[in-house]
């Protein structure tokens, strides 16, 4: 009796084995890996914000708009107003994005009418008050274009990954920043985010060359720039490095466009002289 049971189970197992091996091989469906959500380890300072959260996850679903504002408690009214103008214009742009259909021309038409801008300027005072009350609030605004979404997905994955890498590869300067607390991570975020909006990277740059432009700035307490100096000046006129001139000019334009810069409210002595290292490599390598 027992023996039969044993033999029977062995044969059954054999059958299962043979069946499993001879069944038609189902075509392997491609694995649907969800986009990587990178996690950054950051130092906690007084106020912190994860700088550039990975775009991929958000973009894939639909166009989202988040506002980023850094409001310092003692912000002089003049400074805040100017920031507001920018945001207002951006809002207009975002509206346009909403109304766009996917079949439209890939890049949005940012037609800014003079009249509209003026109207919005008048509305500033109201919005101003709201803003001043909102202390240490961080919201993020991303200018996302419907048609660029798909293209950004791949980029974003790499960007997020590179973001982590970049943070590790960061020159001693950054470490120095943290040690000397030149700027807290949040202050740096604020500046970076501001410049992100102003710096139009020329897409035509060769992505396999050194794309680093270092600019030294002299600043006033309110964030306006009194002097700019390109540190690799000699490279501007080198033959075969025409793209460097273009890159440097784009960085200078970014600085001019972004005035007054989002500088910390205290410790003017720390940051009255600032060096911005514009590196386009990450954006172009994608």
């Amino acid at each position: 009796m027992n023996r039969s049971i044993i033999i029977s189970s062995v044969l059954h197992l054999l059958l299962i084995l043979v069946t499993a091996m001879s069944l038609p091989f189902l075509a392997k469906k491609p694995l649907d890996i969800p986009p990587i959500v990178s996690v950054e380890l950051i130092q906690i300072a007084e106020k912190t914000n994860i700088p550039f959260a990975p775009k991929a996850k958000k973009i894939i679903e639909k166009v989202k708009e988040k506002e980023k504002k850094l409001v310092s408690e003692q912000a002089p009214p003049k400074k805040v107003k100017k920031t507001k103008t920018k945001t207002v214009v951006s809002v207009e742009q975002n509206e346009k994005v909403d109304n766009k259909t996917p079949e439209a021309v890939p890049l949005p038409e940012k037609t800014v009418k003079k009249i509209e801008t003026k109207k919005e300027n008048k509305q500033n005072p109201d919005k101003l008050d709201e803003e001043v009350k909102q202390v240490s609030e961080f919201e993020k605004k991303e200018f996302v274009d419907l048609d660029n979404i798909a293209k950004l997905i791949d980029k974003a994955k790499i960007e997020s990954a590179d973001e982590i890498k970049k943070n590790n590869d960061i020159t001693q300067d950054q470490d120095r920043n943290i040690e000397n607390t030149g700027l807290t991570l949040s202050e740096e975020d604020a500046l970076k985010a501001q410049i992100f909006g102003c710096w139009s990277i020329p897409l035509g740059l060769p992505y396999n060359e050194n794309l680093l432009v270092r600019i030294k700035l002299m600043l006033e307490p309110d964030g306006s720039v009194t002097k700019t100096e390109i540190l690799d000046h000699a490279r501007m006129n080198k033959p075969g490095q025409a793209f460097y001139k273009v890159l440097a000019e784009s960085a200078l334009r970014a600085v001019k466009l972004c005035q007054p810069l989002r500088v910390p409210t205290t410790g003017y002595e720390r940051w009255k002289e600032l060096q911005l290292n514009f590196d386009a490599r990450e954006m172009l390598e994608g």
Binding site: F52, V105, P106, L107, K110, T111, V112, K113, K114, F143, N148, K151, D154, K166, I170, T171, Q174, R176, N177, N180, G182, L183, E188, K192, I195, F196, G197, C198, W199, S200, I201, P202, L203, G204, L205, P206, A242, F243, Y244, K245, V246, L247, E249, S250, A251, L252, R253, A254, L257, R270, E273, L274, L276, N277, D279, A280, R281, E282, M283, G286
Partner: protein
């Protein structure tokens, strides 16, 4: 004692802290197209009337600036702002723009200019201004025959593009393609040529015989293509200016897939005989024919590297279509495509760094690029059917063609030209009068 050391230490590091220059790394910007303003070119009344007589357009100044505006817009890198918002009149803006006015509408760059009719010729001067830096960064003038006015617009576009991106432009170029009409089973095909913006379209053949895959000579006004004249498919040469055609070589079988060498002196093509296709070249001067590959497989779609030292080609010697590279004498054959799928139509970029290709995988067609060692494969776009990318002369933009499905009634078939930027952005339809396929981009005309 210890305390003293601590104090000393603190004193020592304290000064460091105070005088350290803070550096902030900016690694991200936006990829928004640069907003700029293209002001209509100023023109005096007399010149305007003279030109109106010759070219039959109301205002040649605004016609030329429209060309510039359109070119910069289609490149995807610039955003020309709406003219209704412009505050300064063209004549004044050209002399000394009020930069505050222009930055008010968010322009970061400004193009102004002037057109005059002088000695029966067209003279155009233009200036490029950096609005934020408040200075002029380029000023040039051109003189040519009035009928060449479109090319002036393209040349200005190229100059502005180069100054603002660091790359050579691609606007003063032409595209040759096959214009198609008729039912899918009996398609009528003609060779056609047009400016890169779609203007000046001309048909080069009548459509009596099947014509395919035309390619430009990079150095002269010649075209090579495949024609089924007298039902014998052979590679031909066509002189665009005179219209004369001649067959290339004296091959006892089908020759096809022709291209020019980068110096324009040779034609490289496939020759099919007894079931196999090999790659041959023919020197156009002395008519000497060289055999480059000798393999029982199908070797086709050859494409020279810009320095003429290497050839990329398509071969099925491994069982399926893949991309290979070899030296220009045929030695040292190396396979470079190893991804999933079938690879075809390799085209070497004029910059020498990339090879564009068509890929077929799981029933979908892709246009992609890879480095010349086969690594870094990037697929730019996917479609039901598309193939045959061709590079713009600055190696930045690819033009290719797509076909649509026929529905169950046998209707709905169409073929159109499309272009896409190397980054994968700015995919757009290239408008043609008829259906179109097999596009090929010329080199810059103003060389």
């Amino acid at each position: 004692m210890k305390k003293k050391f601590i104090i000393l230490f603190l004193i020592l590091i304290f000064p460091l802290k105070v005088f350290a220059l803070i550096e902030v790394d900016i690694t991200r910007g936006n990829l928004n197209p640069l907003p700029l303003a293209v002001s209509p070119l100023a023109i005096d009344e007399q010149s305007r009337n003279e030109f109106k007589k010759i070219i039959k357009k109301e205002n040649i100044g605004s016609e030329i600036s429209s060309i510039v505006e359109n070119n910069l817009k289609t490149s995807g890198l610039f955003n020309p702002l709406n003219k209704d918002a412009f505050l300064q009149a063209p004549e004044i803006a050209n002399l000394k723009p009020r930069f505050e006015d222009w930055s008010l509408i968010k322009a970061q760059a400004l193009i102004t200019g002037k057109v005059t009719f002088i000695d029966e010729k067209l003279r155009v001067e233009f200036r490029l201004w950096d609005v934020l830096a408040a200075k002029e960064i380029m000023a040039l003038a051109f003189t040519t025959v009035p009928n060449n006015w479109r090319r002036v617009g393209h040349i200005i576009s190229d100059k502005v593009y180069e100054r603002l991106t660091g790359e050579k432009g691609y606007f003063d170029t032409r595209i040759i393609y096959v214009a198609e009409e008729g039912p899918k089973t009996q398609r009528k095909k003609r060779l056609a040529i047009m400016d890169q913006d779609g203007a000046n379209n001309k048909f080069l053949t009548l459509g009596n015989e099947l014509v395919l895959t035309p390619r430009f000579n990079p150095t002269s006004q010649m075209v090579t293509y495949l024609s089924y004249f007298k039902n014998l498919p052979r590679v031909y040469l066509l002189d665009i200016e005179t219209g004369t055609q001649e067959v290339v070589g004296d091959f006892p079988g089908m020759t096809f897939a022709p291209r020019f060498s980068p110096d324009g002196k040779k034609i490289i093509m496939s020759f099919a005989k007894d079931g196999k296709s090999d790659i041959y070249t023919m020197d156009l001067e002395n008519r000497i024919v060289d055999r480059i590959t000798n393999h029982p497989s199908i070797d086709t779609s050859p494409s020279y590297s810009p320095n003429g030292k290497f050839i990329a080609f398509n071969s099925d010697r491994s069982g399926y279509q893949q991309i290979y590279i070899m030296k220009s004498d045929g030695s040292d054959v190396k396979r470079i495509s190893f991804g999933n799928g079938i690879y075809g139509t390799p085209v070497w970029s004029p910059r020498g760094d990339l090879i564009a290709f068509t890929k077929l995988h799981k029933g979908k067609f892709y246009i992609g690029v890879m480095r010349t060692d086969g690594k870094g494969e990037r697929l730019l776009t996917e479609n039901y059917y598309q193939e045959a990318p061709s590079w713009s002369p600055n190696g930045r933009v690819l033009i290719f063609y797509r076909e649509t499905k026929t529905n169950s009634d046998g209707e709905g078939f169409s073929a159109k030209l499309w272009s896409i930027d190397l980054t994968g952005y700015n995919e757009r339809l290239v408008t043609t009068l008829t259906d179109a396929s097999d596009p090929s981009w010329s080199s810059l005309l103003s060389n």
